[in-house]
């Protein structure tokens, strides 16, 4: 009798234990987005767990500047989480090549994304994809609607209209026409060159031709944006040479500048800081009616640790990340970080809506220097920062800058030799 009870009790605990095991698949997410911790805990994880009983998610972010180093050492030690937030391009590609990220091509949900969206997390030949694209940032210009109304300005769509508007703001003198500085250099390249450039090099067409070696940085379409940037100098504030990125943000949100060359990541910050109405317009095209191209830059993805103990559960999560449900939670919680899936997402923030609406009108591309071309020394992206700042300041001619970048790229990149 006693023995049977014992057996039953043992069997009972064993059963409980197995069922607990089956229930408790816990997936850990590695990320550098510690800003998003509450978003994950309050919205993303509950939504996923409600739809997928049996899988628990733990979000364990680290500081952005430490992420790459921390992740690498965890992966080498075998203690990294099941899901890994992916930096775009080479950092993640290196992880895939070292066998740390799993190939996700057999996942059906990858079909929800366009080729441009996937390009940041693919091998150079596009044969294997290893991260699900989560979000991108779009470039354009944010403007002060009140200032535009006050001066009777229309939103510019062509380059001529753009410079005419700047000229008018300058003549009036109430506002600094455009808030940007060259002190930190990257704004000149990211919000300057790569913002207006795609209209010149026709987005993906030019970017891919450059990678293939069919176009050169000395070609007209790559040099002309520098010439246009040089014209910006007249419309930036006094002493823009020493103006930093936070200076520009403050100038604009304090209402002292009319136009701000922007990336969409500014939206949530500007919404809380500015007390005037804001609108956005895309990079102006050369002539009315031209096809427009926007920089819709892939920024965050998520992949699976190849060494995970729960590949099925991890794939279930990745599939959910690729779904419209996730896109709508993420896109609305972080206005300015746009979900990349093809399914339309209803955004609530008017400014974010404006940015994302350009996807329907224009061709998307990514920043020209990010894929493959910034692998060697000298680093093309860093060089472009300096070149864009020099173009605005007029310390070098656009042609000389093109020459310099081309010879730097050709020194290590074979297709350009």
């Amino acid at each position: 009798m006693k023995k049977t009870v014992m057996m039953a009790a043992l069997a009972g605990t064993a059963l409980v234990a197995t069922s607990a095991l089956a229930e408790d698949v816990t997936l850990t997410v590695e990320s550098w987005r510690n800003d998003d911790l509450t978003l994950w805990q309050d919205k993303i994880i509950p939504a996923f767990e409600a739809a997928n009983p049996g899988i628990k998610i733990k979000f364990t972010p680290s500081a952005p500047t430490e992420y790459n180093a921390v992740l690498n050492s965890k992966l080498d030690a075998g203690s990294a989480g099941d899901l890994i937030t992916c930096r775009p391009f080479d950092a993640s590609l290196a992880l895939f090549e070292a066998g740390h990220l799993a190939d996700l091509d057999d996942m059906e949900a990858m079909g929800n994304f366009s080729d441009v969206a996937k390009s940041a997390w693919q091998t150079d030949d596009g044969a294997a994809s290893f991260c699900v694209p989560m979000a991108s940032v779009i470039h354009g210009f944010i403007y002060n609607k009140d200032a535009f109304a006050e001066l009777g300005l229309e939103v510019p769509t062509t380059e001529d209209e753009f410079f005419a508007a700047l000229e008018k703001i300058k003549e009036d003198g109430t506002y600094i026409p455009m808030a940007m500085g060259t002190n930190d250099q990257w704004e000149a390249a990211t919000m300057g060159y790569n913002n207006i450039g795609p209209n010149y090099w026709r987005g993906e067409e030019g970017r891919k031709a450059l990678i293939a070696g069919e176009q050169k940085l000395t070609d007209e379409q790559w040099v002309a944006p520098y010439a246009t940037l040089a014209k910006w100098a007249d419309y930036l504030g006094d002493g823009y040479e020493a103006q930093t990125y936070p200076d520009s943000q403050n100038l604009f949100t304090l209402g002292r500048a009319a136009i701000y060359p922007a990336g969409s990541w500014e939206i949530s910050g500007f919404n809380t800081q500015a007390d005037f109405e804001m609108g956005a317009f895309k990079a102006p095209v050369k002539a009315a009616g031209d096809t427009c191209y926007i920089s819709d830059h892939t920024d965050i993805g998520i992949g699976m640790n190849a060494a995970t103990a729960h590949p099925e559960a991890a794939k279930a999560f990745l599939t959910w990340v690729a779904s419209p449900e996730f896109a709508s939670i993420f896109g609305n919680a972080l206005p300015g970080f746009f979900p990349l899936s093809n399914a339309p997402v209803e955004l609530e923030d008017p400014l974010a809506k404006e940015f994302v609406s350009w996807r329907g009108e224009c061709e998307s591309t990514i920043r020209s220097t990010y894929q493959i071309l910034s692998r060697g020394t000298p680093n093309l992206e860093n060089e472009t920062w300096g070149a864009s700042a020099a173009a605005i300041k007029g310390t070098e001619t656009p042609e000389a800058l093109g020459e310099k970048l081309q010879s730097g790229l050709a020194s290590w990149y074979e297709p350009q030799q």
Binding site: Y240, Q243, Y370, E381, A389
Partner: protein
């Protein structure tokens, strides 16, 4: 005869310092130099001998950056030698004047910036000189000299000099203190003897005090040299790792940092970074040796 005892206590007392110093200073130093002899090829570390140094000095892309950084470093050092140390000597001479009132107050006020963090100094001066919010343009405006103002930190031709002067502002307290101490140690009798011979005022400074503080000035120069060639923090805090505008403020420290740890899309290359660190070490070693054997041994010392 008594057998000489092994004096264990010497080893015991030396051990902690030697162990700690070896593990945190000497070992990393030599390991860095060793690292400079390798290169990573296909995820494996390969011994390449002096190849990295050849790249650094003879590859046009690398050597251009290296010589630019080295040149900037010399300029940075020159400004310190020409501005910081003479001002330090003058301040010390003024402070040691027996009839100066509030000497202690001035001394502390001038010394305080030295204990501030580079980040604070860099940020504060960036704000002061900011063309948008800074007080420098409005102060110049108040005295009618607005035309003299330029966005100094953003102009290639001024940025490095501006940063060097900021650094001078921060560190002028150190030569001042050292020379002040040296001046105080000059016995009154010597000065009185000079007075009897008719050497007073400025002549007393040039003929009696200056020769007596020369060894201190020598030490200060070598400290400045080592400090300047290891400098990094101020440039990084105010101009970032790319040492803008257009690398005009790039010194060896920022060049090494950028190469070693990578920046933005540029992946870190610890091997080339170590090669630069090795070159920095060699330059500083050479400078210190030149001073020790070339100048210090020949300096005349006076028994006080």
């Amino acid at each position: 005869m008594q057998k000489p005892r092994i004096r264990w206590h010497i080893a015991v007392f030396l051990a902690p310092a030697v162990l700690i110093y070896t593990s945190v200073m000497i070992f990393p130093l030599f390991n860095t130099l060793r690292l400079a002899l390798f290169q990573e090829v296909d995820q494996a570390r390969v011994y390449v001998g002096l190849e990295n140094f050849r790249t650094l000095f003879f590859d046009p892309i690398w050597s251009k950056q290296f010589w630019n950084a080295l040149g900037n470093n010399f300029w940075f050092f020159l400004i310190h030698m020409l501005v910081q140390n003479p001002i330090g000597v003058v301040l010390a001479a003024l402070l040691s004047h027996p009839r100066l009132r509030f000497a202690a107050l001035y001394r502390s006020a001038i010394f305080i910036p030295t204990i501030l963090s580079f980040v604070i100094v860099g940020f504060a001066w960036k704000l002061i000189l900011s063309p948008i919010w800074g007080i420098a343009p409005s102060m110049l405006d108040a005295v009618g000299l607005k035309a003299l103002f330029a966005p100094w930190l953003g102009k290639e031709e001024y940025a490095l000099t501006t940063l060097a002067l900021i650094s001078v502002w921060q560190f002028v307290g150190i030569p001042m203190m050292l020379i002040y101490a040296a001046l105080l140690s000059i016995p009154e009798e010597i000065l009185e003897a000079g007075e009897i011979d008719g050497v007073t005022g400025a002549a007393a400074f040039w003929k009696i005090k200056l020769p007596l503080i020369l060894p201190s000035i020598g030490i200060i120069s070598i400290l400045t040299f080592v400090g300047n060639f290891n400098a990094f923090d101020l440039i990084y805090a105010s101009q970032g790792a790319l040492a803008g505008p257009d690398f005009s403020t790039d010194i060896l420290g920022t060049f090494m940092y950028r190469t070693f740890f990578g920046f933005q899309l540029q992946l870190g290359d610890p091997h080339m970074g170590s090669a630069i660190a090795g070159a920095m070490f060699a330059i500083i070693l050479l400078g210190v040796c030149l001073y020790l054997f070339g100048i210090q041994t020949r300096m005349r010392r006076y028994q006080l």
